[in-house]
């Protein structure tokens, strides 16, 4: 990962949490900015009915804590044992005065500026389960993947249920679709918390178009066949969303 946005000298607190323990909860005081040092953080909303909606995951280097990524709107919990550092309110004020340009970058990141949030909404509204999971695994690969001999080795820090609550499906379906992708030799499961992307182009195609094109390049828009009224469910295409 690249040089982190916040350095040790900026930070005023380090926190560790085991899985499922909160770093902050909805309604906690706001204004501080957090940076993931290790592990994986879930930003989520609980409903009183007991359901959970995971709005996003934060990985090492990611910054969160403001707006829709802060305690005014969501809970932040460890998806696995994690460490997080904090830049408090006063430290942020100090940085705004001494280094306004860098401070604005930090603030933008803490609002979730790095991620294209609307893509997630598009995905969970329309795509079938297989495509949702392909999209998630592909983006995880881009974010966390380690290239090893032409294949991509990826950590999977969160549970199946976390993935399910992020994609709007059940953990059983996540498990089934995972198995399906393994049987198709698109991915390989290495224990529960690691996988390998064996055919990245196919996974990408599945994520973007919902179809199993075997070509190495993303199909061009004009090559996609769809009816005038509505595309077949499985040819749904996210290329526009991911290009934006």
């Amino acid at each position: 990962m690249a040089k982190p946005l916040l350095q040790t000298s900026d930070l005023d607190l380090f926190m560790s949490r085991p899985r499922n323990r909160p770093f902050f909860s909805e309604g906690d005081p706001s204004g501080a900015i957090y940076q993931v040092e290790s592990g994986c953080i879930r930003l989520q909303k609980m409903t009183e009915g007991g359901r959970r909606c995971v709005l996003s995951f934060c990985y090492p280097g990611d910054v969160f804590g403001l707006g829709t990524h802060g305690p005014e709107q969501v809970d932040a919990e460890a998806a696995c044992a994690s460490r997080v550092s904090r830049l408090g309110h006063l430290g942020l004020q100090r940085m705004l005065q001494s280094e306004p340009t860098r401070a604005m970058k930090v603030i933008d990141a803490a609002y979730g500026g790095q991620e294209p949030g609307s893509e997630h909404v598009v995905m969970i509204s329309f795509a079938p389960a297989e495509q949702k999971l392909a999209w998630f695994l592909a983006s995880l690969g881009q974010r966390l993947g380690q290239s090893v001999g032409g294949e991509l080795l990826v950590d999977l820090p969160m549970m199946r249920a976390d993935i399910a609550d992020h994609l709007g499906m059940t953990f059983e379906t996540v498990s089934r679709e995972m198995t399906k992708l393994r049987d198709l030799k698109i991915i390989d499961l290495l224990g529960l918390r690691k996988f390998k992307i064996q055919r990245a182009a196919v996974l990408q195609s599945l994520a973007l178009t919902g179809s199993l094109a075997t070509s190495r390049h993303v199909p061009s828009p004009s090559s996609l066949a769809f009816s005038p009224r509505m595309p077949a469910r499985r040819t749904f295409d996210l290329a526009a969303a991911s290009a934006g």
Copy 2:
């Protein structure tokens, strides 16, 4: 509606569009701020597969144009014949200098600050069709409703297909659920572009809990029965989300 955020003296351009014509498209130059004068604006993403995802609607008085509510991320199209006014980049700079406090309010609103966007995500991930529609109609009532003799008269400026693309369902299902709510005498359809909320408490209950409680108050969390593993689908509760 309350006094609009932007006054005529702030604005530098007025635009009118018939239904389905764009005010701006994804990739257009950004930096300007728009205010709805009349009608209804759809903020949406198109996919190359031909599907559309409506991320939000803007009504008279709403301000948009930045971040996920701007041309860097979405298209803005008229959902019905609409008028929009614009505060250009230069005008915004001027306001930032002369009235920084008001300018920051305007900027926050243009990012979509007014609406709790995460509630929409929770809704489209989990809720069944009936609850999605109840939620949408209830929020429309709160936003646009005119109280008339104890009932709420509400404009419905957009087509069924627009609602469907906002809630992640088909327009046929929107139509069916609408009919069902009418048959239950919860709403009354007055032509295609207007409806009346006859039993607001029931509609609200349906929107929040997914169940047809007939009580006038929102059921308290502890009164909701759900299994330890997972609530029954129809008792899904959004109260936490809407409280936030």
